[in-house]
């Protein structure tokens, strides 16, 4: 039986709590940005098609689902 190896903490001690919270907020903003480019209007929301049409070719070429 191999011995249980030392468990690494999920977040290295070098990352402070403040950096972790900042990182989570930044990730939320960045995911929103990617969502607006790739999924909003036409895929997820039906609030209009302007973003969808503007980013249309990019959506197809980035490989995300399109109409």
């Amino acid at each position: 039986m191999p011995k249980v190896q030392s468990v690494h903490p999920v977040i290295s001690p070098a990352v402070s709590t403040r950096v972790l919270w900042t990182a989570l907020a930044v990730v939320a903003v960045l995911l929103l940005m990617a969502y607006l480019v790739a999924f909003d209007q036409g895929a997820v929301s039906r609030s209009g098609m302007y973003l969808h049409e503007l980013m249309h070719d990019g959506r197809h070429l980035l490989g995300v689902p399109c109409h």
């Binding site: 480019v37 098609m49 049409e53 249309h56 990019g58 980035l62 109409h67």
Partner: protein, 260 residues
């Protein structure tokens, strides 16, 4: 592997470089997509319009008049889309780098940056590409867009989990284990998750029988190329900016040490 505290760059500095590298990578990907992909998008739209006109009985359908963004605008929008998407991915890469840096077990910042970008390319691009290959306009049923979007996001998450499982598989054998055993563990961990994802998620088969196969293939290669250009240049650009940041910081620290 332990970088001294004053030499490790802070999160804002790393994030800024990730965003910048992502913006540049996105513009390069847009340029590739413009050259390699736009002719295919144009060809597919021509087929779409031909079908629409045939359906309307050759009459003057109002399709052209109610376009929100014309074709020229969409070609410019390609660069906007890839630049914004690239910047977002660059920021995510920089954040992953900050949170995972010490767990990557390499003293090289370049290897850490390239490894993370490679993991994203494999997990978030190549794994989804094989299950749900991208389609040009005129392919795809608008009625299934919700299911296709959910399934696509699920395979992106599963692809990233598969890469993580590969790393776990690589590290699972004891420290003295031979390299081939670690490599085998990585392959088994990766493929196990990918296989589950490919089997569990629904298949999508919406290409009309009349759609030209060579056009479909060329579009898919162009689309894959766009993503590969994005992630390769993002990884290299981020590594380059990090390396310059590290060099500058160590110079500053050395000068401070001399002055102190």
């Amino acid at each position: 592997m332990s970088l001294s505290a004053e030499r490790a760059p802070g999160y804002p500095a790393v994030l800024l470089r990730g965003l910048l590298a992502g913006l540049i990578a996105g513009l390069l990907a847009g340029a590739f997509g413009y050259v390699a992909g736009e002719p295919r998008v144009d060809a597919a739209i021509a087929i779409e319009e031909q079908a629409a006109h045939a359906e309307a009985g050759g009459g003057e359908a109002g399709h052209h008049d109610d376009e929100l963004v014309g074709r020229t605008g969409q070609k410019g929008g390609l660069f906007l889309a890839t630049a914004l998407f690239g910047a977002a991915m660059g920021g995510l890469l920089a954040t992953a780098y900050t949170l995972l840096r010490r767990r990557l077990r390499t003293p090289s910042d370049t290897r850490a940056a390239l490894g993370l970008a490679g993991a994203a390319l494999l997990g978030a691009v190549l794994v989804p590409f094989v299950k749900y290959p991208p389609n040009p306009p005129a392919v795809g049923d608008p009625a299934t867009i919700d299911q296709r979007t959910a399934a696509y996001l699920a395979i992106v998450v599963l692809g990233l989990v598969a890469v993580w499982a590969g790393v776990v598989g690589y590290r699972a054998p004891r420290t003295a284990a031979p390299e081939w055993l670690r490599a085998a563990g990585a392959v088994v961990g990766f493929l196990a998750v990918v296989a589950v994802g490919y089997v569990m998620l629904p298949s999508v088969d919406e290409v009309p029988a009349t759609f030209p196969a060579s056009l479909l293939w060329n579009f898919r290669v162009a689309s894959l190329g766009t993503q590969v250009v994005l992630w390769v240049s993002l990884g290299l650009g981020f590594a380059a900016l990090l390396s310059r940041l590290g060099a500058r910081r160590s110079r500053t620290v050395d000068q401070a040490a001399v002055a102190g």
